[in-house]
């Protein structure tokens, strides 16, 4: 789960990391109030959406006078912000962060992710902030300093200092950097984050070190332990179908094709999309109905698939193990009736009770296939 910049900054501040003076607002009037409260100086008005690239899309504006602040707020709040991460449809801006504009000396990068090989979080910093870390990795690979965080002891102070020195800091700014690195390492572990990025991390002209932007992602599996984080969820940022799937505890990812897919098992589901593509089809989604799925769950899944108006055909691929094929067949047959599904459905069933399932389906006129390849080709043809 991702959160907004203003939420991420508040979290950072609660861990002792310095952030710019500012506050969130959702109307131009509120924006003005914040501007008054934080000293009527030069501010940045920043659209709060999860996607990156807000600046280029016109979602961040500097303002100095009351008029400027108001007009920026009016422009940004309610706009449909399109960036390279939103897709062409863009995202509607509902909130802005109003923040003091700072005198910046230089911009760094600081980030933490879980490194799979070392089975530990890794803190990365670079002198080249303000661009994406992949870009830095491509252009200035030597500038990236990586530090493994001990999985049980956390970041050691000497490591935090070393990272600071590697950014060229010394004295008071070094101490600030140490505080920030310590804070994000602690936050990462305590709140089960999957990613923290402070990019840019500002080194100000007055030698303070402050988080310019902040991006935090959390491990979905751990949210049940963190009500405070779950409360930061912004449902407007979710695909409606993905939101429904999450609530139904189904694993769904929207794609841009036209064949709706329902598979049991994540690996088989990915492979199924690959096979459809191989035979010239374009999958509309990834959907894993999981182990032991019952008929009700099949119906929920089909309902979610059909929320996508691009879906021209449905392909169901079930390898019965814990899931029984006849149970799935039952679910599909009744869902088709209840939901009034009009797009063609192709089903491939194998494994536990496959004969029973297949004969049920065939007697209802469904297209079935024994081999996966064969069934996938049928599905591709049905969407053409």
């Amino acid at each position: 789960m991702k959160i907004h910049e203003y939420q991420a900054k508040q979290l950072l501040a609660s861990y002792g990391a310095p952030i710019p003076l500012g506050d969130v607002a959702d109307t131009p009037a509120e924006v003005l109030k914040v501007w008054n409260r934080i000293g009527k100086g030069r501010v940045a008005v920043k659209a709060q959406i999860h996607a990156g690239g807000r600046g280029k899309g016109g979602g961040i504006k500097l303002a100095e006078t009351e008029d400027e602040v108001l007009s920026s707020a009016k422009k940004i709040i309610g706009m449909n912000l399109v960036t390279h991460q939103t897709g062409p449809e863009g995202i509607k801006v509902r909130k802005v962060l109003v923040e003091e504009a700072l005198e910046v000396k230089s911009e760094f990068y600081a980030g933490i992710t879980l490194d799979r090989s070392s089975r530990s979080p890794v803190l990365m910093v670079s002198k080249f902030g303000g661009m994406e870390i992949e870009e830095v990795a491509a252009r200035e690979p030597d500038s990236i300093v990586k530090m493994k965080i001990h999985p049980l002891s956390g970041l050691f102070q000497f490591q935090a200092r070393e990272l600071g020195y590697r950014l060229g800091l010394i004295g008071k700014p070094l101490q600030s950097a140490v505080r920030i690195f310590t804070a994000i390492s602690k936050l990462f572990v305590e709140k089960d984050a999957s990613l923290i990025e402070i990019n840019p991390l500002f080194h100000l002209k007055d030698d303070r070190i402050v988080a310019g932007d902040a991006k935090i992602g959390f491990d979905d599996s751990a949210l049940y332990k963190h009500e405070d984080i779950e409360a930061l969820r912004d449902e407007f940022e979710e695909e409606p179908a993905e939101r429904e799937a999450r609530k139904a505890n189904l694993s769904y990812v929207k794609l841009d094709g036209n064949i709706g897919c329902m598979v049991n098992g994540a690996g088989l589901a990915m492979a199924t999309l690959d096979i459809l593509k191989h035979f010239g089809g374009t999958p509309a989604n990834f959907l894993d109905i999981g182990g032991g799925a019952k008929r009700e769950r099949v119906k929920d899944a089909l309902k979610i698939i059909l929320t996508d108006k691009n879906v021209k055909a449905i392909f169901i691929n079930i390898f019965g193990g814990i899931v029984r094929c006849d149970e799935v067949a039952h679910g599909v047959i009744s869902a088709k009736k209840e939901l009034g599904i009009s797009v063609p459905i192709t089903i491939r069933l194998t494994g536990t009770n496959e004969k029973e399932g297949r004969s049920m389906l065939e007697s209802e006129g469904f297209a079935t296939g024994v081999s996966l390849d064969e069934a996938a080709q049928k599905a591709v043809r049905s969407a053409a």
Binding site: R116, R119, S221, G265, G267, L268, M270, A271, G291
Partner: protein
């Protein structure tokens, strides 16, 4: 001898009285697995499915000499369950549970005593058809004793390959699901090493997926010289970056961990790559000729 589980396996089931534990214990017993103990806190001293139940793994091990444990405990308690088996001296722990937070698994790994092998979490388990030993949730009937080792990050996709091997009368020596977790206890290389030294395995099928770099590392390992033919398949060719494809581990992040990269790594290491699951068996047959 096959690998990991065999006729010597004395299985302990953690969470045996739960619904998952009950269902799969029955299936494992049916298949022929020797289950010697169950563990459920506060149910110690009872009998369940004809198996003695204990409050703690430590007591169960003392009483029954269990040497493999399988975990069907809900996610919030599974990390502790893994450590309980590990500290009780069980050398092989198979964790079926899905949804253990990644940082919890990190702490489990860092707290594990030496010499304990964990398979999973979020995995279908391990099966050795020749000795009728199933430690997991895979459908037993699709397996056939044979001489192909199977290693996979997936569940049902493994069954797909296993069934194809069975239909082709090739069968499996041992099939291992290492699981879809970002920090699995056992990885491809560990399994490749075990299969390398296994007399009953002639070839190995690796079923990978997007995310992480386990496949690339396996490729490096094979490139250094591997005595048996290896066939690879990677799921997730059509996955978009940044989206988790079901498994916590199946995510392309920072442009890394794509199917294409993994396939290329396989090819460079001399691993034949199947583009479709249905191509695995033909490629294997070709290699074994």
């Amino acid at each position: 001898m096959s690998i990991l589980v065999n006729s010597e396996t004395r299985l302990l089931v953690q969470g045996i009285t739960g619904s998952e534990g009950t269902y799969h214990s029955k299936r494992m017993l049916e298949y022929g697995t020797k289950i010697v103990a169950g563990v459920t806190p506060n149910k110690g001293g009872t009998n369940y499915l004809g198996i003695p139940v204990y409050n703690t793994v430590s007591e169960a091990v003392t009483e029954t000499s269990a040497n493999v444990s399988i975990i069907y405990v809900p996610a919030p308690f599974a990390a502790d369950a893994i450590l309980e088996s590990a500290y009780a001296g069980i050398p092989l722990v198979v964790c079926i549970t899905e949804g253990i937070p990644a940082l919890e698994m990190m702490r489990v790994h860092a707290s594990m005593p030496e010499g304990v092998r964990l398979i999973g979490p979020n995995c279908p388990g391990v099966i050795t058809p020749s000795t009728k030993t199933k430690v997991g949730i895979m459908p037993g009937h699709i397996h056939l004793p044979g001489r192909v080792g199977v290693i996979s990050r997936s569940g049902t996709l493994t069954y797909e390959i296993v069934k194809a091997l069975t239909d082709a009368k090739l069968g499996q020596s041992t099939a291992i699901g290492i699981g879809g977790d970002p920090l699995p206890g056992t990885n491809f290389i560990d399994c490749l090493e075990l299969f390398r030294n296994d007399d009953e395995t002639d070839a190995v099928a690796i079923i990978g997926e997007i995310g992480g770099s386990d496949e690339e590392k396996a490729a490096e390992y094979v490139a250094k010289g591997y005595s048996k033919p290896v066939i690879g398949f990677i799921a997730g060719q059509s996955a978009p970056p940044g989206k988790r494809m079901g498994h916590a581990g199946a995510i392309i992040s920072g442009g890394k961990g794509t199917a294409e990269e993994k396939k290329n790594a396989f090819r460079a290491a001399g691993i034949k790559v199947a583009d479709l699951p249905s191509e695995v068996v033909p490629l294997l047959k070709e290699s074994l000729r």
